[in-house]
């Protein structure tokens, strides 16, 4: 496009002319959706930028943004950029100490905080952050009795700015004109689940070119409505609610509070929506539970038409041919079931929904797609400004994450690691030369740390973290998480642990889902007194066997992983538990600890025995320790010959 709009402040100026009277932003406040047009928003931002300048904000200074999705905090980002400064959004739910690390590391000189809670955190860490000079707050509630030497009300800073503008009418414009695409636009800190957070330095080119490419890819226009509810510090929100919004000129809606998101979603009816798989999963669960409570007639109607949708909906969405009779049934279903259902979910107007971050269960994926909701997957990283691969319309598969995003090259390294390069590739890690060099090589390829491969249809398939990927004795690839995810898609399997590294074949531990299996037992008159007894029940073993057989059948069709079929398994007598150190607090399997603790069982899986005795120590909820003893059965599972033809 034209060389002029290579920074966000310049895009803002453009949009304020092109879309002067179009709504750029809404916030629900006092029960009403308050709105700002692009022209109004420009005035607000310029006033703030002038105010910041009056307080001494200079080119290269950092402005930390601390709070949830509020229009004024988004304005803060652009105001800093107007002056050639660098905004640093921070995860608002971090405790003061975590914030201190980021603010100190980024050398933030100014802070815009949402409310008293965040201001208190800032005051707590102020002494340890020598660079921090001014704190500006959005919500004045409870702030009256604070010392106001370095503390400013947002509106007052804008008033100050309007005064400043009278004396220096051209100042902000000149600063804005100085900005160029290769300048640093923002620091996005990683959440730091492993070690200290890293500050990912992004240029305007990174964000704007990526946003422009993805806007074209999905044909987003100025008519989109987006609900901004994900943390502002997360790269996804920065792209969806800022980058793409400025490039396409669409409208951002800020919810009233965290607890009203679902109501606000329904009121706004976004056309473009992002959520992690967990959110879609929760929606489906809620719908299912509420349907169980509904009247007989409604239940039958729902079940009947959902069956119709499963048959026809996905095809319609993919643009495949559908018979006239099926089409008629589908539109009847739409009238009676789908449309009202979408309305309660807030998806009446949805045109495009994305999910990413984790594997999504195929039945969840299909549920939404069969209702006509175009939900797609993408694969991304902070370091890539989100997009590495995306699914094009009409080519949607639950188990792959799509083709390389426009302008992005993806290749698979010798060891199976996914590498990419493209316009969105980050500038560097702030003040961390070594990490930058470890992650990005001289040719610009970035190491994702994920293992994956391209399926035959050219779509990328992510299987595991590269450090968890092992090899069978015959040298073929073993990706435990991929297998475990496949198992966990069955509702009656809560957790699974796969083994196979440096072994001849793959085996697994299974944890049953007490709720789902207990429910099944109740309906089928299977008596049980404890988790352990239910887990050891032969009928439950049969049920698991069937599921695993299904997994094996699907693995047989996979060109790289057909060796990963599960030969033997056992059902654990206790649930894997973070209290016993077997899972992390975020419920990820800790392989090393499990291998130590259940070594006997793993041996038994490989020495052909039919059963194995184990005594495990457990920690009860009140902290006492006890032991459980059990004699576990080991079952063999049929495996299948690989159905993939060797490429000639």
């Amino acid at each position: 496009m034209d060389h002029q709009s290579d920074t966000f402040p310049k895009l803002l100026t453009d949009n304020a002319q092109r879309f002067a009277t179009r709504v750029a932003m809404r916030e629900k406040d006092y029960g009403i959706w308050q709105s700002w047009t692009w022209a109004q928003m420009r005035d607000e931002i310029v006033a703030l930028a002038n105010g910041l300048a009056a307080l001494g904000f200079q080119r290269g200074d950092k402005l930390a943004i601390v709070g949830s999705n509020r229009p004024r905090l988004y304005w803060g980002i652009c105001a800093a950029q107007c002056l050639g400064g660098i905004p640093v959004p921070v995860y608002q739910d971090s405790v003061a100490d975590e914030m201190q690390y980021v603010l100190e590391h980024a050398e933030a000189k100014f802070v815009i905080a949402e409310d008293q809670e965040q201001v208190d955190k800032m005051l707590e860490i102020q002494e340890r952050c020598p660079n921090m000079q001014h704190i500006i707050y959005d919500d004045p509630r409870g702030m009256r009795s604070y010392q106001h030497d370095h503390l400013h009300d947002f509106a007052e800073v804008q008033t100050l700015g309007r005064e400043f503008a009278k004396q220096h009418p051209e100042y902000v414009n000149q600063e804005m004109a100085q900005g160029k695409g290769s300048d640093i636009s923002i620091f996005l800190y990683t959440s730091g689940t492993t070690g200290k957070p890293k500050g990912v330095v992004m240029t305007y080119d990174n964000i704007i070119m990526t946003a422009r490419n993805s806007v074209n890819f999905d044909k987003l226009s100025q008519n989109e409505e987006v609900l901004s509810y994900l943390p502002m510090a997360w790269v996804g929100d920065h792209i969806f609610s800022y980058g793409q919004a400025y490039v396409a000129g669409f409208c951002i809606n800020c919810p009233e509070s965290e607890s009203t998101i679902s109501t606000d979603l329904r009121e706004i009816g976004p056309t473009y929506y992002f959520a992690p798989p967990r959110v879609f999963e929760n929606i489906l669960t809620t719908v299912t539970i509420r349907m169980h409570d509904a009247g007989k007639l409604k239940q039958r109607m729902y079940n009947y038409f959902m069956e119709v949708a499963r048959k026809t909906g996905v095809k319609l969405l993919n643009g495949e041919a559908v018979s006239a009779a099926d089409k008629l049934m589908y539109s009847l279903g739409n009238l009676l079931v789908y449309a009202p259902l979408k309305n309660t979910m807030g998806f009446s107007r949805i045109r495009l929904a994305y999910t990413a971050g984790e594997a999504i269960g195929p039945e969840i994926f299909d549920f939404f797609r069969s209702l006509g909701i175009n939900i797609k997957q993408l694969y991304g990283q902070t370091e890539a400004a989100v997009f590495i691969t995306m699914q094009p319309d009409g080519q949607i598969f639950a188990d792959t994450v799509g083709v390389p995003a426009p302008g992005v090259d993806v290749k698979i390294a010798e060891n199976g690691e996914v590498l990419y390069r493209g316009p969105g590739v980050f500038h560097s890690y702030y003040k961390n030369e070594q990490s930058t060099r470890e992650t990005k090589n001289e040719e610009g390829w970035v190491f994702t740390g994920d293992a994956g491969y391209f399926a035959e249809n050219g779509h990328l398939k992510i299987i595991d973290r590269i450090k968890d990927v092992g090899r069978f004795n015959d040298g073929s690839m073993f990706a435990p998480k991929y297998i475990e995810n496949k198992l966990k898609f069955f509702p009656h399997i809560k957790e699974a642990v796969a083994f196979g590294h440096e072994k001849d074949y793959c085996t697994a531990f299974i944890n049953i889902d007490l709720e789902a299996v207990g429910n099944w037992a109740e309906r089928n008159n299977v008596p049980y007194a404890s988790y352990q007894e239910l887990a050891g029940n032969p009928q439950v073993y049969q049920m698991m066997l069937k599921s695993i057989e299904e997994v094996n059948r699907s693995l047989a069709g996979d060109k790289l992983l057909s060796n990963s079929q599960i030969h033997r398994f056992l059902i654990l007598h206790k649930e894997l538990d973070p209290d016993d150190g077997e899972l992390t607090r975020t419920r990820k399997v800790r392989r090393r600890i499990i291998a130590e603790k259940y070594g006997v069982l793993i041996d038994a899986l490989y020495n052909g025995s039919k059963a194995c005795f184990i005594r495990t120590e457990v920690t009860f909820e009140d902290g006492r320790k006890g032991a459980i003893e059990a004699n576990l059965n080991i079952a063999d599972v049929p495996t299948f010959a690989s159905t993939v033809k060797e490429a000639a």
Partner: protein, 267 residues
Amino acid sequence: MAESTQDGRKIGGTLLEVKNISLSFGGVKALTDISFDIKEGEIRAIIGPNGAGKSSMLNVISGFYHPQQGEVWFRGQKRGSMRPYEVARQGIARTFQNIALFKGMSTLDNLMTGRITQMHTNLFWQAIWKGPAEREEIAHRERVEHIIDFLGIQAIRKTPVGRLPYGLQKRVELGRALAAEAKLLLLDEPMAGMNLEEKEDMCRFILDVNDEFGTTIALIEHDMGVVMDLSDRVVVLDYGRKLADGTPAEVRSDPEVIKAYLGGAHA
């Protein structure tokens, strides 16, 4: 004469004074010769063991009960025998020990009922609604929305109150009292039956109401920790008589109070 507390709040002259109140039901003497005052801007607690006459005292102030003897002075004027709604109109609002909300109505509607004393259009205009009544309702709705924002109850705006958990119902009731824009807020056991977290929230709200709106608050509470932390002055009742009156520290060290609460020391 205005004085300032440590945290910078202003405490002004006497807002309400009760003089020599005596109240009896048949032969039962609920209150005997009680006198105390409530100053503008303060948080005043009324404490005492069960049956001490705390709620009776509050009912006298809010006009529910009419004492046989004694006088109630509000904003420098002696108050004659009044009906509760007249008291409400004067600027006294209250909450109840056992929540008295309209269970079938939404939070928003419940709060709007708090504005009734401030509505001026007559039945005719209300029936037509378009015009003055509509404008008035919008103005009142705005006030109510500020209270919803203040109490952080946006998510339950449209939820019928009967479906809310107890702690939230208490908060809605406080909201309704706030909606009346009272000079004096009477809270009858605002934390009864709450868990620790709900209590902390409620304490925060009471302090914030006092701080932000400068509302004078009189409250009855059993949780001594709460009373000692919140209030500026405490009056202690026992068997319908006044036992002590003063700052939390003074009251705590008063031998009579210790005796009433913990039992006398036997030699």
